[in-house]
């Protein structure tokens, strides 16, 4: 049981939340300045650009904020270096508190999709009927002796038992790990191509000038991919699905509701309870005023992202360059 008033469990440290806030601000600025240049022929693009001082100053802001993003990305790399538990290394990298992907994540992803599709329930209800049909099918096409068929069915039953089991997520779900590591492919790709284009006279000393044509498209498609992923998938999962609605405050407040965590991340809570660390991780709810502030900030970011997404989609046929 949680101590009185402490109904939430700590999930992110203040430094991690600061990194996320910086990412939100810089990502939205980059998205807005980049899109306003991309759509400058449209009234939507012109209006967006005017917020940042016009077409030329959009590029200036885009370059400086891009360099700022690269800097904090490198600082985040340093932070990770110091955050690694070197005494337990390399075991600590593959523990349940680590964000490194594990094979277990793949299994959980399959289980999760099976749960979404309702396969788990369907198979649990008629598992033996399904296996009987499979046995008949095997007999018909292979003419295998009964002993072999039984061994195959046992294997298959083992697989079914994994699929039909609902996933028990630990601290990090596979989708959260994907979101985290996507930044590690997005920022280097956007950062390097951005630097190449920002300093073409220097970069063309090392790559041919026609490389600028190529990196332009890498930068553009990767940026569109990143924005669409964040504005559609990340926003929906973190804020709009039923479990998180109206907003998952974890990344702003640093903690999540214990009951909700017990529901979505049962293995994490069970592990903390078993090791007796749960009590030390519990924190109280923040004040209503602070909560309101977080909602305003969070929804301003979500709203602006959706504005960029819809504006971009609606005007996509008017892109001239």
């Amino acid at each position: 049981m949680s101590p009185k008033g402490k109904t939430r469990i700590r999930r992110f440290s203040p430094v991690q939340r600061l990194f996320h806030v910086l990412l939100i601000l810089s990502f939205l600025t980059q998205g807005a300045t980049g899109l306003s240049r991309m759509y400058i022929e449209t009234s939507w693009g012109k209006g967006l650009a005017s917020v940042f001082g016009g077409y030329e100053s959009c590029l200036t802001i885009h370059k400086y904020v891009g360099i700022f993003m690269i800097c904090w990305f490198l600082i985040h790399g340093l932070y990770l270096f110091f955050k690694i538990d070197w005494r337990q290394f390399p075991r600590s990298l593959f523990g349940p508190d680590s964000l490194l992907p594990r094979l277990e994540d793949l299994g959980q992803a399959i289980q999760h999709v099976a749960w979404m599709l309702g396969i788990d329930r369907l198979l649990r209800l008629d598992r033996w009927g399904f296996l009987k049909k499979l046995d008949d099918f095997l007999l018909r096409i292979t003419r295998l002796p009964p002993l072999n068929r039984v061994s195959y069915l046992k294997e298959f039953d083992g697989l079914l038992s994994v699929i039909t089991k609902p996933p028990r997520f630990d601290r990090w779900g596979y989708w959260e790990k994907f979101d985290y590591w996507a930044v590690f492919w997005g920022i280097p790709l956007l950062g390097v191509t951005g630097l190449i284009m920002a300093f073409p006279l220097v970069s063309t000393r090392f790559i041919p000038g026609w490389g600028l044509n190529v990196v332009f498209w890498i930068h553009r498609i990767e940026a569109v991919l990143a924005m669409c992923h964040v504005f559609i998938i990340h926003f929906f999962i973190a804020h709009l699905r039923r479990h998180s609605f109206p907003m998952d405050r974890a990344m702003f407040e640093g903690s999540v509701d214990l009951a909700a965590a017990r529901h979505e991340k049962p293995a994490w809570i069970a592990r903390l309870e078993q090791t007796g660390k749960l009590q030390s991780q519990l924190v109280a709810e923040i004040s209503v005023g602070r909560k309101a502030l977080l909602y305003v900030f969070g929804y301003a970011a979500v709203g602006f992202g959706i504005f960029l997404l819809i504006g971009g989609l609606v005007n996509s046929t008017s892109i001239t360059w």
């Binding site: 400058i40 022929e41 077409y55 999760h112 999709v113 749960w115 979404m116 599709l117 309702g118 609902p166 996933p167 028990r168 997520f169 989708w175 073409p200 006279l201 063309t204 000393r205 790559i207 041919p208 000038g209 026609w210 600028l212 044509n213 190529v214 498209w217 890498i218 498609i221 990767e222 569109v224 991919l225 669409c228 992923h229 559609i232 998938i233 929906f236 999962i237 709009l240 699905r241 039923r242 479990h243 017990r262 529901h263 979505e264 049962p266 001239t320 360059w321």
Partner: protein
């Protein structure tokens, strides 16, 4: 009183012919009228001098194919083909002093009347440049003509540097009139652009092909889920 000399046709013919022979002899005996320039432009002579000395050449020494009987034209025809003073010029307009030579009603046409796709480049669309600001005034020399400012040997200095101060030859290899990267024809003209573009598109489409249905299903499943939450059911 002066009387005009009346000559027969035969006499006139022979006098003209003899005069012409004398003229030819005179021309052959005279020194080269532009010997100093000849020293600078005689490819074979300079080639031999360098070949015997260092074997290394400066960019200005990489001469046009004016005196070379066989030339290769990139993008027009694979390999080598015989060069004739008229034939190649008719077929290929990349090496003419006036690339628009012989085009009917040329002076009444706008550039984009023929160069439809070339109009859509970032310098024109976004930089508000007009064609002549890079390609120069009439006559617009072919891009590979030796004395053209657009020639890759000096494009960076004569054209790009007007705005991009310090542009190098490598910098000038940026393709202003880049083809549409999505088009199949780009596979032939700019293969790196074509393959990189489609790789990035495949990456984006692949990501969404996994995560869009995943997200939609998840949202739907949670929406239809019973309100009671039980331990072990995510």
């Amino acid at each position: 009183m002066w009387q005009p000399v009346v000559r027969s046709f035969r006499e006139s013919f022979w006098s003209v012919l003899v005069s012409l022979i004398w003229l030819v002899i005179l021309v052959t005996l005279l020194p080269n009228p532009a010997l100093a320039q000849g020293e600078m432009v005689m490819d074979i002579r300079r080639y031999r001098e360098r070949e015997l000395s260092t074997g290394y050449y400066e960019e200005y020494e990489v001469k046009s194919a004016r005196l070379v009987p066989i030339v290769s034209v990139p993008g027009v025809r694979r390999g080598l083909f015989p060069y004739s003073p008229t034939g190649a010029e008719v077929r290929i307009r990349t090496r003419l002093a006036d690339s628009h030579r012989g085009i009917k009603f040329y002076k009444d046409l706008r550039c984009e009347y023929c160069h439809v796709n070339e109009k859509w480049n970032i310098h024109t669309v976004r930089g508000n440049l007009i064609c002549r600001q890079c390609h120069g005034g009439e006559p617009i020399a072919s891009i590979n003509h030796y004395y053209s400012p657009m020639n890759p040997t000096r494009r960076h200095a004569y054209v790009c540097s007007k705005c991009h101060e310090g542009a190098s030859a490598s910098y000038a290899s940026y393709v202003i009139h880049a083809p549409n990267p999505a088009m199949l024809s780009t596979k032939e003209t700019f293969p790196v652009l074509f393959y990189v573009f489609w790789f990035m598109v495949a990456l984006a489409v692949g990501t969404f092909a996994v995560f869009l249905p995943h997200t939609a299903l998840w949202g739907l499943r949670e929406l239809l889920m019973k309100k009671e939450k039980t331990e072990g059911e995510s």
